[in-house]
Every structure is written in C-alpha cells, then in structure tokens.
Point group: C2
Chain length 312, copies 2
Amino acid sequence: MILTITMNPSVDISYPLNKLVINDINRVTNVKKTAGGKGLNVTRGIKYSGIPVLATGIIGGTTGQYIQKELDNDKIAYNFYVTQQESRNCIAILHEGNQTEILESGPVLDDQDVSVFFQHYQSLLSQSKVITISGSLPQGFPNDFYARLIAQANKHQIPVLLDSSGKVLLQTLRLKDKPFLIKPNKDELQQIIQMDIDANDPHSLMKAVSHPLLDNITYVIMSLGKNGAFARCHNRCYQISIPNINVVNPVGSGDVTLAGLAVSIHENENIEVMLKRAMTMGMLNAMESQTGFVNMNHFDKYFQKVTVTAMM
Amino acid sequence: MILTITMNPSVDISYPLNKLVINDINRVTNVKKTAGGKGLNVTRGIKYSGIPVLATGIIGGTTGQYIQKELDNDKIAYNFYVTQQESRNCIAILHEGNQTEILESGPVLDDQDVSVFFQHYQSLLSQSKVITISGSLPQGFPNDFYARLIAQANKHQIPVLLDSSGKVLLQTLRLKDKPFLIKPNKDELQQIIQMDIDANDPHSLMKAVSHPLLDNITYVIMSLGKNGAFARCHNRCYQISIPNINVVNPVGSGDVTLAGLAVSIHENENIEVMLKRAMTMGMLNAMESQTGFVNMNHFDKYFQKVTVTAMM
C-alpha cells in the first residue's frame, strides 16, 4: 500500500464569474467545492492507477468533515489525525480569463499536535510500502518535520517521495536522513541549489540534478513543463521528452506525476517505465478540466509517445 | 419568546488583504468566519436585549454544522430544519479600502423541503409571541412562501415583522395576509411603490408610507440612514431623528433595528419607546466593527438622544 501525506488539506472552492466587480457584491450560483491539497491529488492519481492507497495528514472541524465526505464520495481510503481546529478553504475566483486565488494559511497547531500526529504516522508505517509527502506544513510545525517523517520511514526501509519546496525542502535536504526521491520543477530546484539552470543545455541539467546538496537522494526528477523532465537515478541521467498535448488545466499535473512515480516504485518497475508512467499521468491530468483527474483509457496511447534517453 | 426566521443562513468569511492581486495567489492568515444571514443578526440583537429568542430556518451539511457551532459559542438557542444540502459561504474580501463580496446563492431545495419546513415552522408557533422574517428565500422556494408563513402566524394572532425586499416583498404585500410590520429603507420602498421619495419632504415621506400597497400593515418603518427614519403606525406618522455618531461598520444595523422593534412589540412598549429603542440598537451596531454586535452599556446614553415627532 502507498501512504500519502497531506499535512494541510483544504476545501477548494471555485467561483466562476463573468466579471469580478471590485467594492461591490458579486453573486455566484455555480459553485464547486472539492477536497484539495497536493497530497490528495497524489492519492487520486494512485487510486486511478489501481494501487491500494491510504491518505493521511491533519484535518479538523466542519471543513475537515467536508473533506472526509468528499473522499467518501470518491471512495478514497483515509486515516487522518483529527483536531478541533478548522481546516482551511482555498478560493479560486475564475473571472475574465483570470484565476485570482485566495489561500487561507490553515490552522495554527501546537507541539502536542506535532507529537500526536507523529505517533499516528508511526502506527501506519507497518502497512506502507511507499510513502509520498506533498505540500506545505501547518503553521506551528517545525521546518524539520518532514525530515523526522523521512528518518522514521528510512528506519523501516520505506522509500519516501517528497514534493515540497522552499525553506522546508532546503531544511530537509540538509539533514542526514534523505528522501528516496524528490520532484522539484526547474524554478524550485534553482532556488534550492542557487544556480541558474538552462533547460536547453544537457550539461546544465546534469550539473543541477547532481548538485552536492542532492547527494544520497536516489531519484531526482526535475520537471520541465512541456519540455518533459530531466532525471537522475543514482549516478545516471535521463532526458524525458513528451508529445505536444492540448493543455486544458495543468493544475495538479505535478501531483499525479508523483502518483505515477509512487506506483512504479510500489510495483518495482524499471526506470524507463517509471519515467514514462509519471510523465503520462501528468499529461493525462493536464488534458482534463478537473484538477487531479486522469482518464486512464488514454494511458497507453500517451505512454507510447514518451521517450526516455539515457545520457552517456 | 421571539422566533426569528433565516431561510438561507451562511458562513460569512472575511479576508483582510493589503492588496488583492488579480490573476495571482493571495495568501491570507487573519481569516474570520462567523454565522451569517440577516435573521441571525436579528437574533443576536434580541439576545443582547435580554429577551428569550429562538432562531429557525434551514441549514445543511458541514457548513450548517459550522453555523450551529458558532451559535452554540454565542449561547443562542436554535431549532433549524436540517437538510443534506450544504449551506452557503459568503465571502468579503477587504482590500485597499474596498469590500468586494462574493455571495453564494446557497442550496437548491425542492417541494419536499418547502412542505417539511412549513410543518417544522408550525410546530414552533405555540411558543412564539412575535416572529421576525429576514432576508432571501432559498432557491426552489416559491415567492409567496413568506406570505404562507404570515398567514399561518396571523391565524394564531402572532405579529410578524418582515424584512425583505424586491420581488419577494412585493409578492407578499399583494396578498391578503399582511405582515404586522415592514422595515424597508428608502430605496427598497421606492422600488416597491414605484415612486420617488424625497427624504427632506415630510409630505413625500407621508405619501410613501401611506401608499395603498401598504394598507392593513400596522407599522411601516422606513429607515433613512443617518437621517433616522420615518414611520407610520395605523394612520399616524412619526419622524425619528438620531444624533451624529461615529460609524465604524454599518453592516447589520438594519437587522438589529428590527431586533429592537421585535423586542418592543414583545414587551408591549408604546410607539415612542419602540422607535427610540429600534434606532438606538441600529446606532449601537454601526459604532462597532463586529457585524450584528451591540454594546448595551451605551444603550441609555444614545436612547436619550433619539427624538420622535408625531406629524399632525
């Protein structure tokens, strides 16, 4: 089973408006509310792939109950640590071709929550073969919290796939216990290793994924949007190219790419299949309007069109 | 006891932002979520006045549970008809001196809900001495629904105070069973009676509140903002003047004004006290930042400053 970790889930609300009128009342009838958070998109991607998956993290209050209700509707298994504090709403106003987002920071938790969630996490390890961690930490959690989760997983020889960025990713990479895989995009990796990356120069790409800060991380998958990805596995690098596709909504594509990687690791697939699976999942999501959704009927068609080239 | 009716309550969410950046991500930490809907402000105003009050209406889903939780915190008694459908969120983005609102229309209910709520309402009548009805109807409810509630209350000799506007108010006033009191503001009344009202001309004001469409409504209280109000009780008119105050947040002032009117009717106060009480409540609310809140410690001071003049 794959365990997915979403520490700060949300109820994502979208408001489609013809026009957003500032300093006035905007009435909206066609409201969509879904269970959000990067890790929940990963969970969906894994479930579409037919692999057993359990979602965990922290939810709370009536917003947390709404998240559970949505996951029940989607028949997704979960075992969250539940607090009294309300989970957050994330608002997307879709107006005049714009997407204006208002993201709540979510509940402020305390040391007690940190320690109780850690125990909760430990209780789930015996069932887990692969773990994914996605997104931001709740307010009040220490920056090294993901490193603690990874250290514990490493003790049990469970590979951890980490999709984080900024301070939290940097803090995690500086510590002794390494994730098995990271999946930054070019900008996120540039920020971490503090060097400019030229996406058209294989030497620049190789230098980036082989940066000393990334030592002892088995897989580094750098996504390059429509240019595919560049990956390092142990000491070998791979260029991945994808076909042109009709992008409808790219939100969540990185998350279902991570789902593809987790599925491959869970199924012991070889590196070529793994990279092709991951890219295919990301493309399938980008071709749909619904965030985190993939139509697996198109999987084989696009899987065939991804090419993986080992760099000599 | 006073029964307050709020057919379409909401969770009101306010997002204070230094700047609302269009087509980008706006992160917000200082989020406030409260139980909203005009009728719930009326309920609060009555409770601050120390009179027993029960809130009813329709709530549903996890948003409905949040509303109940907030009312529990405020120690407000309620007995809602509960559906599976999610109650609505109403968003206020406070940015650069603007208040940009996004109001969800709320759940779409059906004939079954109409009839079950009506039964629920009937079961509460025996305890009720006064009834207030505020705000809009849920989608799916017929425009004459408030008229049905009023007809039933009239059968039991329970006076109904109606605070509605537009199509629903017009439809209600055209039917045989009249509310005991209505409290439109100048614009709302103009829309209903289709005539221009000159707030500085007592004859215009008298003509407006004596319009044939308002026949058989015992009290018509037309609010005029900082110019106070103009009222008709049976065939007699009253000009009400209020002192200058420091307006902090006028939202909800009309609702607690209605609360003051309901309290007076419940307590059989005379017309002068009733009008002064109502205006005082509205002012006390406008001087506070919190919607629907009044500081009753200042009640006597402002009550003394309201003047009521009977028109000869």
